[in-house]
Symmetry: C2
Subunit: 196 residues, 2 copies
DNA sequence: AGACTTATCTACCACTCGATACAAAAGTTG
DNA sequence: CAACTTTTGTATCGAGTGGTAGATAAGTCT
């Protein structure tokens, strides 16, 4: 049945380049010219592989989530709620200032507000940010059952707090703050988790 | 010397409309068509009054800062560091979910990452966000001299923490979170300021 | 009134946007 | 090799971008 001409570029490698462009310039600010140049391909190849600019973003977001999942598994494996929080905030401080990537978080930098043809992009990013909060809340629910969160502690509120601080650290990092500044924010934030 | 034809629109009223467009769509996402329609004027009037799209944003940011200054004066007038933090976070929770405005904070929504012609916009917003952090730090320095901040407390770190949480609350609000959610984040954040 | 100054409107500029039509190229299968 | 299928590059689409030229309108000053 004839297999057709094989793709001449590596999809994942191209996605990594696209991710960086979206990360650094946001969805609206990332033009097809920038994307195709970074990916090393021409527009028809991009559209054949990803369908649309939005499809490309979603594929990049999937890849971003995949990268993060291993970190998150380590974070959630912390023995206590406080240790989970400590691991979470530390990993955010490191990853948001990793010189291998643009500063901040793709899910924040990608676009909190967009133009007329891209109204659903902010929703897409928000729903992906929400996933992390859910993971934390479920872990803190478990911590409460385990007894290492006091009776007055609110797992949902703590998860939302951590998620909010993480977003804020994304904004801070994108402003050029260095790693130590983010570590300091992480340390102060831990006040919400009384030491065992 | 002849005064010339008077301006037929109210500059501040027009700025308020422009502010809302930038707030809701970000700098790149706000097109001249959207801006002129919202302001009720034509492009030549806009350019005569504000010079450029970037000039319009800066004028809107000035107006935004002016609006906030009274709130900030109230915040900084708190008797103790903890009361300042409490007032700050509460005012953020209210203002970022004020139905009279787009959700979140203009200084965050306006654009953390921009396209090729607007590289300096994120810097402009970041420098304005930094002003609030400086005000808080100076107030906490004073609190330390006054003795209502313990010897182990770090005024700069606490100010950066609050500023970071405020940015995070902006992201959270822009995702559709309601006022109670932000209030809860404010409450948890206050853990960093031991009660007197 | 008439000269002068500034704002406004219509129409448009060159350019970029995201996206695509078409034909040549590069493979696999019979 | 010949038939078939898919990808690739060139060249371009219509729409929208930020911004402006030039004429007209609406005031103030002498």
């Amino acid at each position: 049945m004839a297999m057709g001409r094989p793709r001449s570029f590596d999809t994942d490698k191209a996605l990594d380049e696209a991710m960086e462009v979206f990360w650094r310039h946001g969805y609206d600010g990332a033009s097809l010219a920038m994307l195709t140049k970074a990916m090393g391909i021409k527009p028809p190849s991009l559209y054949a592989a990803f369908g649309s600019k939005e499809g490309l973003l979603k594929a990049a977001l999937d890849r971003y989530a995949q990268r993060r999942s291993e970190h998150m598994r380590y974070v959630l494996a912390g023995a206590t709620a406080r240790e989970v929080a400590e691991r979470f905030l530390s990993s955010i401080a490191e990853s948001h200032t990793d010189p291998a990537n643009p500063p901040g978080c793709l899910l924040v930098q990608g676009g909190l507000a967009c133009g007329e043809g891209s109204e659903n992009i902010p929703f897409e990013l928000a729903s992906r940010r929400a996933l992390t909060e859910v993971e934390l809340r479920e872990r803190f629910d478990q911590a409460k059952q385990d007894g290492d969160l006091g009776g007055d502690a609110d797992p949902a509120a703590l998860a939302r707090f951590l998620s909010t601080v993480a977003s804020g650290m994304g904004v801070l990092a994108s402003s050029g703050a260095d790693r130590d500044a983010l570590r300091e924010v992480a340390r102060v934030s831990l006040s919400a988790f009384p030491a065992t």
